[in-house]
């Protein structure tokens, strides 16, 4: 079966990507200098330094370290936080629920708005909604999320005193972070949906559907939309992972106790194992997600299997 070969190749690619990911993270960590000096009090004896180096395996050649790193990574061990003294992966999972809540909320509104407006705008290019959407999308894509977040705080917390400026615990804490986080992604969903729909609407099969006298809603929803959704759904899935892992500035501004905040703390303390853990976890998620979407497409759109 041709699908089997395709499946296998994607699987191998994903495995290679994960290995390169780990190699990259480990190799660049070496650029940062010797972590041991940071972990010990200043003025520690050479014997103490050597002992720690040996305990961490830093005396081994690079390739041996890499193998060990991979071995540990597979078992879910990405080292111990220098600052917290806890497992880095454990810390990641402690913070995950808060990030999922924030990302989930931001994702939901950005997808609904982005795809909804995108489809409507493409159906009638140049209409009011299309123009408004285009301007909002442009601003959304250009405005740094953290600045938008600060403007919201200035207005709703400092000026109107409606919403708490930071922290978590109630829906009122969630509103501003979810809006500022989702803003950029809503814009990106809108733009891609619109352009994918426009392309789909220019195809021969849509022309034929119109020549068959199909009502416009049917042309758009049944003939044009399914093809346009494929790239949009892929992008949305990747965006979700980004919202979970890369909301560093938003979570910092609002003191939201998620993964982004964890990363920010880790930079402040130069807590390298934690930084490594976040980089590796988010990278691996995207690799696995890409694998899943590749395989899913084969199921959705049989043309791909054909083309392989």
């Amino acid at each position: 079966m041709p699908g089997g070969r395709f499946f296998l190749r994607r699987l191998v690619y994903a495995a290679i990507s994960l290995a390169i990911l780990a190699l990259t993270v480990l190799a660049f960590s070496k650029v940062g200098g010797d972590p041991v000096t940071m972990m010990l009090e200043p003025g520690a004896s050479q014997a103490d330094i050597d002992a720690l180096r040996q305990r961490l395996g830093l005396d081994l050649p690079f390739w041996a370290q890499y193998l060990k790193f991979m071995q540990n990574a597979v078992t879910g061990d990405l080292g111990t936080s220098i600052y917290y003294g806890q497992s880095a992966v454990g810390l990641y999972f402690d913070r995950l629920p808060a990030s999922l809540l924030l990302a989930g909320t931001a994702f939901a509104w950005s997808v609904l708005l982005g795809i909804g407006v995108g489809v409507t705008a493409a159906a009638r290019p140049g209409c009011v909604l299309d123009r408004v959407g285009a301007v909002l999308a442009l601003i959304g894509m250009s405005m740094p999320a953290f600045w938008f977040g600060m403007l919201l705080i200035m207005f709703f917390s400092v000026h109107l005193r409606w919403l708490p400026s930071s922290g978590s615990g109630s829906w009122r804490h969630l509103v501003m972070p979810a809006i500022s986080l989702g803003w950029y992604f809503a814009a990106s969903h809108l733009r891609l949906t619109r352009s994918a729909m426009l392309e789909s609407l220019q195809s021969d099969y849509v022309r034929l559907a119109r020549l068959k006298g199909m009502p416009e809603w049917r042309v758009i929803l049944r003939h044009a939309l399914p093809g346009a959704l494929i790239p949009v759904v892929t992008l949305a899935a990747i965006n979700f992972v980004l919202m979970v892992n890369a909301a560093v500035v938003i979570e910092t501004i609002y003191a939201w106790p998620g993964i982004g905040r964890l990363l920010y703390e880790a930079i402040s303390f130069r807590d390298i194992p934690v930084i490594q853990a976040v980089v590796l976890m988010s990278g691996s998620m995207i690799v696995l997600l890409n694998l899943a979407t590749d395989l899913l497409y084969v199921a959705i759109d049989p043309r791909i299997r054909h083309a392989e």
Binding site: I20, M154, V158
Partner: protein
């Protein structure tokens, strides 16, 4: 600049002019900035812009918590943002285009190696990857350029490779092979000139992305080190003052970032419509 219908494209023209203005201000910063951007004055701390109550005409856009002139810092900040942004985009573009052409035209083992690295590196969220690299190499403007170049070259590589794969199937490339042209000659004479448009458009689109990333890094304290007047740093410094209503320290640097990025983005879209009407690079 004209659009598809031959009319003047107002948005693109305005964007180009604005970017040009920022670039000129940045270049002439020592001449046009009214104050030394790093000179603090304890007697003139947190002055509002001149049109607000309590503003002084010596500090047109007010001062920050150390009494430094905001206007001068914004002008010098443009210098940092644009220099870092353009340098990083050029670096990423050069690496990405060279590797993309190599991978796409030669194929085989070179392609496998390059593309697997691209896959893996693109999997890391760019801000997270940039933060990771920044935490490793320490703070300096040069390092920020290197970091952003390392983070973003993969996008060029993937796009260029895709382009090269289709160019390779074009008949003029096959005809060059039939004539006996070497691979190097084909890559330089036939492939490269045909991907330049693509990379220039991507570079313009990427300029905004890179500037935001630089600002984010500076905001988080791992980008351009203080006391350099980077826009992201100014935002971070202004956060405390914002909570007590000193809005200009937040609004003004952010507005500069927004305008720069938006201009780059409009210009990029315009060029994409001109050079890539089929929309391969959404």
């Amino acid at each position: 600049m004209r659009n598809r219908f031959g009319e003047l494209d107002l948005a693109a023209t305005a964007a180009a002019l604005l970017l040009l203005l920022f670039a000129v201000l940045a270049m002439l910063a020592p001449l046009v900035a009214p104050h030394d951007p790093t000179a603090s004055s304890l007697s003139a701390r947190l002055l509002p812009p001149v049109w607000s109550e309590g503003g002084q005409s010596t500090y047109l856009l007010g001062t920050d918590q150390l009494g430094r002139d905001v206007l001068s810092r914004l002008i010098y900040g443009a210098r940092v943002s644009l220099t870092v942004g353009v340098a990083a985009v050029l670096m990423a573009g050069a690496i990405g285009t060279a590797l993309g052409i190599t991978a796409g035209y030669l194929g085989g083992f070179a392609d496998q190696i390059i593309m697997r690295v691209v896959d893996a590196w693109m999997a890391m969220p760019s801000l997270v990857f940039a933060i990771f690299l920044a935490a490793m190499v320490g703070q300096s403007a040069i390092n920020v350029v290197l970091i952003l170049g390392l983070v973003y070259w993969t996008r060029y590589a993937r796009l260029v490779r895709g382009e090269v794969l289709s160019l390779r199937e074009r008949d003029f490339v096959k005809l060059a092979v039939v004539t006996g042209a070497s691979s190097l000659r084909i890559m330089v004479r036939h492939i490269l000139p045909n991907v330049v448009n693509t990379t220039v458009v991507l570079a313009t689109l990427m300029l905004g992305v890179v500037i935001v990333t630089e600002a984010s890094l500076s905001f988080l304290g791992v980008g351009v080190p203080p006391p350099n007047p980077a826009w992201g740093l100014m935002l971070a410094d202004g956060k405390q003052a914002m909570m007590v209503g000193k809005w200009w320290l937040t609004v003004l640097p952010g507005a500069c970032i927004l305008l720069t990025v938006m201009s780059a983005s409009i210009l990029g879209d315009y060029m994409r419509d001109r050079f890539d009407p089929k929309g391969k690079m959404r």
